[in-house]
Amino acid sequence: MTQPTTYLRQYNFTNYQTLNPTSPPPGTALDAEFSAVKVTLDGVLANLKLIQRDDGQIANLSVGYDQFKTEVVSGGINPASPWLTATAYTVGTCVSINNIIYRCVVAHTSGTFATDLANGKWSVIIDLSSVGSFLSGTATGNGVTTAYNLGVQIQDVNRVIWVENGAVKTPTVDYTVSGTTLTRTVAPGGGVAISWRLLGSVSLTVPSDGSVTTSKLADSSVTTAKLADLNVTTAKIADFNVTGVKIAINSVDSTKVAANSLTFSNFQTVATQTLVGRNSGGTGSMESVTATQVLDWIGATQGQLLFRDASNWAALGVGTLGQVLRTTPGAANPTWVGSMTLLTANTAASVATLDLALTSGYKRYRLILDNFIPATNAVSPNMRFSTDGGSTYKTTNYAWAGQYNTTAASSGTYDSSTGGTTAVVLTAAAVSNAAGTTSSYNIDIYAGTGSTVPTYFYDSFSILSGGASNAAFKAGGNLGFNGPLTHVRFLFSAGNIASISYALYGVN
């Protein structure tokens, strides 16, 4: 139906009345005017009938898609964006908040939404709060990303409203969905504001307790935030699945290691012939410790000996020169004993006597005499003692006895009853002064103390007459006077001592 014919005036009756003030208006002209008006009026009525029912309402089937303005075609409202505070809104702008879509009716800058709503800044367009929540979200384009994970299974692409910079995109044409992913045909440009809303009852119905099965959850979709703290039990971890990188550094303490379960190979390697312990001072980590270091914990002085006392290992201090180690049967510690100290060693020649002081402080003395040769041939070597500091030497009360043996296999005894008691006679034969004669003696003297009677023991070896006759003599005896002895004298029964080498030791 075309638009009604436009009415155009065909005759100027004002001009005719001016020229013919006394004549009536021309009838033909009036008829023509009324006919033209009728044509237009009939057309208007015919067209009006097409859009208006007789009861005054818009005619049925008279309004179609093309009759709506653009904002009506796009849902009847302007695209809604999430409401934001401190934002300048113009009339007609739509926002969504709490699942309700509002239309701005008074331009304003937003403050608190409830206050703005109470002041008449917004009018409700659609209230969907009673039918459940719509999943929604925002993103920002970067010109590259086309796939967006909405975090929920999407059953129908038409249930997703996808808006970029306020422009609503067309399902299927502009985007598709698969699983939880929405894929844009063209990647939104950099900085493009994206907002999306999923229509439907995704969360409208809360699943009943214990009804969500494993198959309803997408693979690799349960994040840590979905697990309550301290709720993953041992049974939820597959055997042999916790790897080393999942264990925090320095977090496994001894209570997590089963007793008797670590093997030697679990520990740090150590150098050969070392122990695991700690040699450094203070408390600290274990170290490789050598056997020497371990033993040094007990004693680290050169010459010390280690032994076990009643309760611990201990170190026996360094002994003095000549000491020997003495052990005692039973539970007793070893000790150093028998310290032998060289008091003097020298030679003498062409003297009548050799007088040696017996330094006090020793239990006994050892004398070693060599080359004790007389100036006069075939005289007896003798020994005497002093108890008055060497002022006088005893000439009586010497008792001694011994045995001798010669190269001629001649043996016998010899004692003071036949050898005399004015001195100790050191050999059973006179000593030659011939060249090559050997005259050697080992003498132990127990000097005695107080009223203790000193004793002595000696042995001698002589080669007489240059080896023509050998003799060995071993003897000992007691003195008929009390100690302590202070000096010892050596002499021959006649003549000088041609030569003598001597060494005197103090023994404890």
Partner: protein
């Protein structure tokens, strides 16, 4: 010519510091040849031990052996 005796005696040696103060005493043996005084020499010669009769140098006589035998027999009899 006087007789000489070879004497080894213990002597005390004072050890001093830089100021001359004795800080310790060390003891050592010193040997020296000393001439005997006439009195000492006289006494020494008077007390020389007699030359012992050596059983090695002289073969035992019958009397010697009998003496020894008698002594040994006496010792045996003394035994319980």
């Amino acid at each position: 010519m006087p007789l000489v005796k070879h004497v080894v005696e213990e002597v005390q040696i004072p050890i001093r510091d830089a100021e001359g103060t004795v800080i310790r005493i060390e003891t050592e043996m010193q040997a020296r040849d000393v001439e005997m005084t006439p009195e000492e020499e006289k006494e020494f010669l008077a007390t020389l031990p007699p030359q012992a009769e050596s059983p090695i140098d002289k073969p035992a006589t019958k009397d010697d052996l009998m003496t020894q035998l008698a002594r040994i027999q006496k010792q045996i009899e003394a035994l319980p």
